[in-house]
């Protein structure tokens, strides 16, 4: 058929109408179209089959479908930020203070979710009011917190088989742990007692509420560090701020016990208790070397995922066992460490083109056990099978980044491979009553007024503080250089601004 000019005009008109109506489609009902989420890592094996099942159910119940754009972890921070900047069409994304959440919120790129959780019954049931309160910034909620426990405490994951071999079956204090490390150094050739990875060095000394090698904080887990936009300079507010009404922030090196912790780390570096290449080795490399039996301990978190290391480790060392040592001077439950309850991960809604109702409907849908299990664990019988009421056994290699979009403390199943030691620790971490809420629990520093000084301080911390956190170089000389560089970068400007913001927070709180 020969196309005339009239045909072309008719086709163009039809195309224009179609485009216009497709653009209007969300207005006909919030529950339509596809809710796209930006997620880190890669699509799980068998993802297509799981997504098809999930979407059939989601479409029947809510009238829309779900899709995920997986971005490799190494690029996630930059790429997700660029997608917000470029006005890409998506509903939700994983964000966090340690990513770019503060910047996105201050730029107006995030939808305000205040009051939204109350509208969705399944979600409301799973998100504790304390969690909403702690994750609201200035009374407003900018993301749905994704947590699988109440408190998050960094601690030591150790080779329990080696601990028992050398008479350290129960480790409940700093001195016993230290003796265990020295026993390993002395008696286990080719095994380094403890592995440190790059990027997280500050956790060795800075109290959050305990520093790994900060003995003072083991006895006093009541100090919580805060930071500028999730990294860079870490600081503490005054412990008595609630009563005095004055925030009086100090940089991390001025807190009690921190300098002694740096000296202890230096001693461990010199004695070969910690690895000497920590400044250059990432967490993934450390994990693989631990799995090969080259270390007797490594950094762990109370997230219920630490036992996943055991299967790999037992391939290299068949008799290996894992244990958890919490950094408190006493048995589990003897102290109530301070927490902010701020979630490490949040799901945010894109203010430019994201559909708040659809995004919240999806969060609500994920808050139902059956849906949560389907997307989080895969197809029952193929990817996993239930073990008891709350457990599961993995049958395939399906691995979905649940922490980014569907972590719900009340719905998480425990892996059947979880060690007794971790079950105890994870169970303890799931109860809010085991922790004390910090005075500044929902404080988020606004970095905008001191943006340049904060960025320069980030460089100062990397250049001068990181070596101290890993025991590289003399402590006194290193501290001296650090303080001089911090002063030159504008420490006083930052502290003045933090005092202003901290005092304002206290005033608003009362």
């Amino acid at each position: 058929m020969r196309l005339t000019r009239r045909h072309f005009m008719a086709l163009s008109g039809a195309a224009g109408m179609a485009t216009a109506f497709s653009g209007l489609s969300p207005a006909f009902g919030a529950s339509s179209g596809t809710s796209v989420a930006l997620l880190p890592s890669q699509a799980p094996t068998n993802w297509k089959a799981v997504l098809d099942l999930a979407n059939a159910k989601l479409m029947a119940e809510h009238g829309f479908t779900f899709d995920a754009q997986f971005i490799n972890w190494s690029n996630y921070g930059q790429q997700s930020l660029l997608k917000f900047t470029a006005g890409a069409q998506f509903d939700t994304a994983l964000q966090a203070l340690w990513l770019n959440m503060a910047q996105l919120q201050q730029s107006g790129a995030l939808a305000d979710l205040t009051g939204q959780i109350d509208k969705w019954p399944n979600l409301k049931k799973q998100i504790a009011p304390k969690l909403i309160e702690a994750n609201s910034w200035g009374g407003k909620l900018w993301g749905i917190p994704q947590v699988n426990s109440a408190g998050r405490i960094q601690h030591f994951g150790i080779r329990q088989d080696l601990a028992e071999k050398y008479g350290f079956a129960e480790i409940n204090d700093f001195q016993t742990l230290e003796k265990f490390f020295y026993a390993i150094k002395e008696k286990e050739s080719g095994v380094t007692p403890f592995a440190l990875a790059s990027q997280t060095g500050w956790q060795t000394a800075v109290a959050t509420p305990t520093g790994m090698f900060n003995e003072h904080s083991w006895e006093n887990p009541y100090t919580m560090q805060y930071s500028l936009a999730g990294s860079g300079l870490r600081f503490y507010f005054d412990k008595d701020a609630a009563t005095t009404g004055s925030s009086r922030p100090i940089p991390w090196w001025d807190d009690a016990g921190t300098v002694e912790a740096l000296r202890k780390i230096r001693q461990y570096y010199n004695d070969g208790i910690i690895n000497a290449d920590a400044l250059n080795v990432d967490q993934a490399t450390i994990e693989s070397q631990f799995g090969a039996g080259r270390f007797a301990g490594l950094w762990s978190m109370t997230d219920g995922l630490q036992s996943n290391r055991l299967a790999g480790l037992q391939r290299a060392v068949p008799t290996a066992a894992l244990g958890q040592v919490l950094p408190f001077g006493g048995a589990l439950g003897s102290v109530k460490p301070v927490q902010t309850f701020q979630a490490d991960n949040m799901i945010v809604v894109n203010a430019n083109g994201g559909d708040v109702d659809r995004a919240m409907a999806l969060q609500d849908w994920f808050s139902v056990q059956e849906n949560h299990d389907l997307v989080g664990l895969g197809i029952e019988g193929t990817d996993w099978k239930a073990v008891g009421d709350r457990g599961f056994e993995q049958l395939s290699t399906y691995s979905f980044p649940s922490y980014a979009i569907l972590w719900r403390a009340g719905l998480e199943r425990l892996t059947s491979s979880m060690t007794e030691s971790e079950k105890k620790v994870f169970g303890w971490a799931q109860n809010y009553d085991n922790f004390t809420s910090d005075t500044f629990a929902s404080f988020i520093a606004d970095v905008t007024p001191v943006k340049e000084a904060a960025a320069q301080m980030n460089n100062v911390m990397t250049q001068y503080a990181n070596p101290l956190f890993y025991g590289v170089g003399d402590v006194d000389a290193g501290l001296d250089k650090l303080k001089k560089a911090a002063d030159a970068a504008g420490l006083d400007v930052i502290m003045t601004e933090l005092t202003k913001q901290g005092d304002a927070y206290l005033k608003a709180r009362t």
Binding site: G77, L81, F84, T85, G87, N100, Q103, L104, S107, G108, A109, T192, S198, Q199, L228, A229, G230, S231, G232, G272, N275, A276, D277, A278, L279, N280, V281, D282, Q289, R294, A351, N352, V447, K451, E452, A454, A455, Q456, N458, N459, T462, Q463, Y464, A465, N466, P467, V472, G473, A485, A488, A489
Partner: protein
């Protein structure tokens, strides 16, 4: 002179003698290249306005308010600017000089290999490192310099064999300009040699035959014929390298050094410094300002290099 003039005239006549049809064909041939430059080089330049704006994600590039030169102040006023700029230029000069020299020597050596298959095999072997990812290079270096746990490595094992003290390489900043230079030579030597080899093939065989009749050795021919005739290629590569001198080799340096602050005094370049600073605040305005600053200085470097080249060796100048 009487010889060159008519040749120039003939060339000029041929150029001006193109028919409209020939011109159109040439234009069509150039179109993909022109389109590439428009889309990927000139089009994105519009985004440079971000360097002069207080960029806000919600307002976008053109909606964000102007803020003059404030974005440039962050880097230029920082106390580290002098060290970082020095490292950038110094490391790039080392990389450029060493890889060009290595490429030239390798090309001369490969050119002397007579067996075709063996020569092609060797060419592939020395070209291979060019394709190795900086991440893989970083892991290889860790195995060579520090080993598992950071208290060993191949080099330290060798030092122990000859009773020399072990070195904690990742805490010795003084050694790193040279370590990085060795890495760059390993990475780029083969690649550069291929460029020189291509230039060698264009040298007339008659020149070598004449030299052979005069009794010149292979060594003499390499020094007196090949090297001088490679100078124009060498000069072009220098000018191109100088243009990039203000841009640090981010991929390699960051993959190897990462956030190891102990090595910063000798390895921190503009790109790594800016990346680290802005990873925290993600300020596109400051990033664009630094990028513009690097480009302008790079342009000045290229212009200066070309002028120097024209002044001292006009016949091999690219302009």
């Amino acid at each position: 002179m009487t010889v060159t003039k008519p040749r120039a005239g003939r060339t000029g006549a041929r150029r001006h003698g193109l028919s409209s049809r020939d011109s159109l064909v040439l234009l069509l041939l150039a179109l993909p290249g022109i389109a590439w430059f428009l889309v990927f080089a000139y089009g994105p330049m519009v985004g440079l306005v971000v360097a002069f704006k207080a960029f806000n994600i919600r307002d976008g590039i053109f909606g964000s308010p102007w803020n003059g030169l404030a974005n440039f102040r962050y880097f230029l006023m920082s106390g580290d600017a002098a060290t970082v700029v020095f490292n950038t230029v110094f490391l790039n000069a080392l990389f450029l000089g060493a890889s060009l020299l290595a490429g030239l020597v390798l090309a001369l050596m490969l050119n002397e290999i007579r067996g075709g298959p063996y020569r092609r095999f060797m060419q592939s072997v020395i070209f291979f490192p060019y394709f190795v990812s900086p991440i893989v290079i970083s892991i290889m270096l860790q195995v060579i310099l520090s080993g598992v746990g950071g208290r060993g490595g191949l080099v330290n094992n060798l030092l122990s064999v000859v009773d020399l003290p072990q070195v904690s390489w990742y805490t010795e900043p003084g050694a790193w300009p040279w370590i990085l230079t060795i890495v760059k030579v390993w990475q780029l030597g083969g690649y550069t040699s291929v460029i020189f080899l291509a230039a060698i093939t264009s040298i007339s065989e008659e020149v070598y035959e004449a030299a052979e009749i005069d009794g010149a050795s292979r060594w003499r021919m390499a020094l007196s014929i090949t090297v001088p005739l490679l100078l124009p290629t060498f000069a072009v590569l220098v000018v191109l390298g100088v243009g990039r001198m203000f841009f640090g080799d981010f991929a390699t340096i960051y993959a190897i050094v990462q956030d190891n602050g102990v090595l910063f005094p000798t390895t921190d370049v503009i790109d790594t410094y800016v990346f680290r600073s802005l990873r925290m605040i993600g300020d596109f305005g400051t990033t664009a300002a630094i990028g513009l600053f690097q480009s302008v200085v790079g342009f000045v470097f290229v212009a200066a290099a070309v002028l120097v080249q024209r002044r001292f060796q006009k016949e091999s100048s690219i302009l």
